[in-house]
Amino acid sequence: MSITPLLRLSGITKTFGPLKANDDISLTLAQGEMLALLGENGAGKTTLMSILFGHYVADDGSVEVLGRPLPPGSPRAALAAGIGMVHQHFTLADNMTVLENIMLGTEPLWAFRRGSARARAKLGSLMDRFRLRVDPGAKVRALSVGERQRVEILKVLYRDARILILDEPTAVLTPQESDHLFATLRELVNQGVAVIFITHKLREVMAASDRCVVLRHGRVVLEAATKKTSAEELARAMVGASIPQATRVTLAPGEEVLFLDRVRADAPDRGPGLRELRLSVRAHEILGIAGVSGNGQALLADLLSGLVAPTGGSVVLRGQTVSRLTPAAMIRAGVGRVPDDRTGTGLVADMTVMENLSTEIYRLPGFSKRGMLNFKALASRAAQLMDVFDIRCAGPNAPVRKLSGGNMQKLILARVLSQGPHLILANQPTWGLDVGATAAVHQHLLDAARRGAGIVLISEDLDELFELSDRIQVMYQGRLSAPENTATVDRAKLGLMMSGQNVDTRGAA
């Protein structure tokens, strides 16, 4: 007896310029099934789901829902066919209310008035049925990340979706919130919805999914029932080779390179400010800052980058209190900064590789004289760095926007590390990078620590923090927990601290 699958993708192919993002992909989804779509960054998972939802049009291949072909390139058709997508970057308007975001597009455009009362009632019954609570009248900008995700899911359920796609849903959640999410998804599956979730976290796949599909370089390399496979097999399929592990050598910490003494900072309408932060980093040491985004990490990063001045407390670098906090001052004081926003903050996208390598040093003697740039010196330095850091590009005059994410990050690291910094701020340094590039970044950071730098590593990826840091502190609502030794700390306890429980806010150095 063959049942028409709820969803069938056949032969999906999509090329972006020279890059083949999806190469002849076929997969099926049955009713009441939870499918995990696995792969490292850049494997083609989001592209595939975007084609399914109609954001992109495939070059080749077809999509069928219950045997009926789905018109390509139209989110409206996908929604009508019962496909709903919770995107990785939430598609919500901050300045509008939850109800408005959910109602959008659900009524004919030429109607005379909005059926707000009816919508509110329907939303209420959905919230009861699936145990997802949010205040419909609240403006989205006032919601936490977890609440926003709930709105995204309700938005999809409101449109009677029977296929729910979630793109990296746990990237912004605490471990406990992730568990709650999967419980909700399982409830949905029990009530007849089919779920596809995209992830690169093996633990989630093994725990929550019924079936899994692994993508690598745009192709399906493995398809199996979860019970019949293992994390090792999946990992191997994802990467295709043994994962290069960065080697951590714990060294005796040296002198103190950074001390934040009861630092306070404010960021109007950007979440909680920093409250009485106490933090200490020594040479040869990597200090990890864990926490869900939105708890002040961005502000801490801005502070250490010199973009924001503290309103109280002091910042001490190698024994010297920094009087005026500016990016130039931090650079001069030997602070290397790797920002989380590669293309917006870390690089000038429209300039060349050489120019980007030069942005922090061009005023130094040797690289300019009496206002004139010394192109020869800049070019030879750029060539050297490109070689040492293996920055793959068409040449020093290649526009930076053409570089891959991994090469962009190598460029930023080259710029930072070539100045021999005493303190390095690494903010989400491997976000969006594939396993190979991630390992390279990790190795550079470990080497820098071995050479004597102290590193503050801010990351939402607990695995990364455990792999690299010597000590970990958790950031919650602008406060830091006391530092714990990575080798001995309990992961579950960290998870609780990330959601605000058991936070010991003394944060003593």
Binding site: S305, P327, G344, T345, G346, L347, T359, E360, Y362
Partner: protein, 349 residues
């Protein structure tokens, strides 16, 4: 319709794009010429002849190009830093007023000192004037497009008051104009019996200096970086505030120099119509040159050709010389389109 980014852009395309834009705009305006009942080919022929067909025509064209080079450079420098200076017209008159105030008898210096003195003081006044909306932008986040524009109207009204009021020249038989600048302030003529004056050489020199600065100096690097990404250049520790101030002083100064050069090279005295929109045309000049300082010289000449040619064309056939303004406006739109087509391919589905 789908847009596909191109992989790489051949240099030929990059230079050809403005050229294509110009041809496209002439093609569009040919429609208007047809409507007016004339033959486009004949009309464009008359235009080219009127602008380039004789030594006299050529000198007229280059004279007309001179202030356009200055305002074009002003716009190019500012736009490079993403400072949308639409106030070139007002800064032009600020420069002209400064030169009138200082150059109509208040200070007398020998010519070789007087001329640089007027240019520098005019430039300073224009630069400081642009600093006002610039400061509003950096400190108070007020969009500079509207403020620089509105200030143009304010300046024009001040000039109106000056030439009808306190600066009105009693010896001008009732016409609203200020007293003429002293002889030492008048720019010497380059070609005898023409109006081509030293200002043209000064404009070329400025274009070269600006190009050299943008390409080889740290200040040029900073202007380009700040314009390309304010966030990244701030993060990298570049002196962003100082760069923006420098850009404003430079841009306002260049536009003001256009005013000084028209005053001391062509008219000799301040009037209400000293500028037939040089400030606004300067924006088109800058865009046509893709913000390249040396390209500005070429595009300024092109715009000058259009205006001078249109004057003589409209005398010969029955077309309003506003066709020049229309052609200029269409060029701005077509050059945007052409530059876009060098970066994207349009795929029809």
């Amino acid at each position: 319709m789908r847009l596909e980014p191109r992989e790489s852009v051949a240099l030929a395309w990059q230079i050809g794009a403005p050229l294509l834009a110009v041809i496209a705009s002439m093609a569009v305006c040919s429609g208007l010429i047809l409507w007016a009942g004339a033959s486009p080919l004949a009309a464009w022929g008359l235009l080219l002849k009127g602008a380039l067909g004789s030594t006299f025509a050529l000198t007229e064209t280059l004279t007309r190009a001179t202030p356009l080079i200055f305002t074009g450079l002003a716009a190019a420098v500012a736009f490079r830093a993403k400072l949308w200076n639409i106030g070139g017209e007002g800064q032009f008159y600020v420069g002209a007023c400064m030169a009138t105030w200082l150059g109509t008898g208040m200070i007398t210096l020998p010519a070789w000192l007087m001329i640089p003195f007027l240019f520098l003081s005019g430039a300073l006044a224009g630069g400081l004037f642009l600093l006002i909306p610039t400061w509003l932008k950096t400190r108070l986040k007020v969009d500079e497009v509207v403020t620089t524009l509105l200030l143009n109207f304010v300046v024009l009204l001040v000039v109106n008051w000056l030439v009808f009021g306190p600066w009105k020249d009693p010896m001008a038989m009732g016409w609203p104009q200020a007293a003429p600048v002293i002889d030492q302030a008048m720019l010497p003529v380059l070609v005898p019996k023409s109006s081509l004056h030293l200002g043209f050489i000064l404009a070329l020199a400025c274009a070269f200096l600006i190009w050299w600065m943008m390409r080889f100096t740290i200040w040029g690097f900073e202007i380009r970086a700040v314009g390309a990404s304010l966030k990244a250049s701030t993060f990298a520790g570049m002196p962003v505030q100082a760069t923006i101030v420098r850009t404003a002083l430079l841009s306002g100064g260049l536009a003001a120099m256009a005013g000084v050069t028209e005053l001391c090279g062509v008219k000799g005295y301040l009037t209400l119509d000293l500028s037939p929109g040089f400030g606004y045309s300067g924006i088109v000049v800058a865009m046509l040159a893709a913000l390249h300082p040396l390209g500005v010289v070429l595009s300024a000449t092109f715009i000058a050709v259009i205006y001078i040619g249109a004057d003589s064309m409209s005398r010969a056939i029955n077309i309003s010389n506003y066709i020049a303004d229309v052609t200029t406006a269409v060029s701005l739109l077509t050059v945007l389109l052409a530059m876009f087509l060098t970066r994207y391919r349009i795929r029809w589905k």
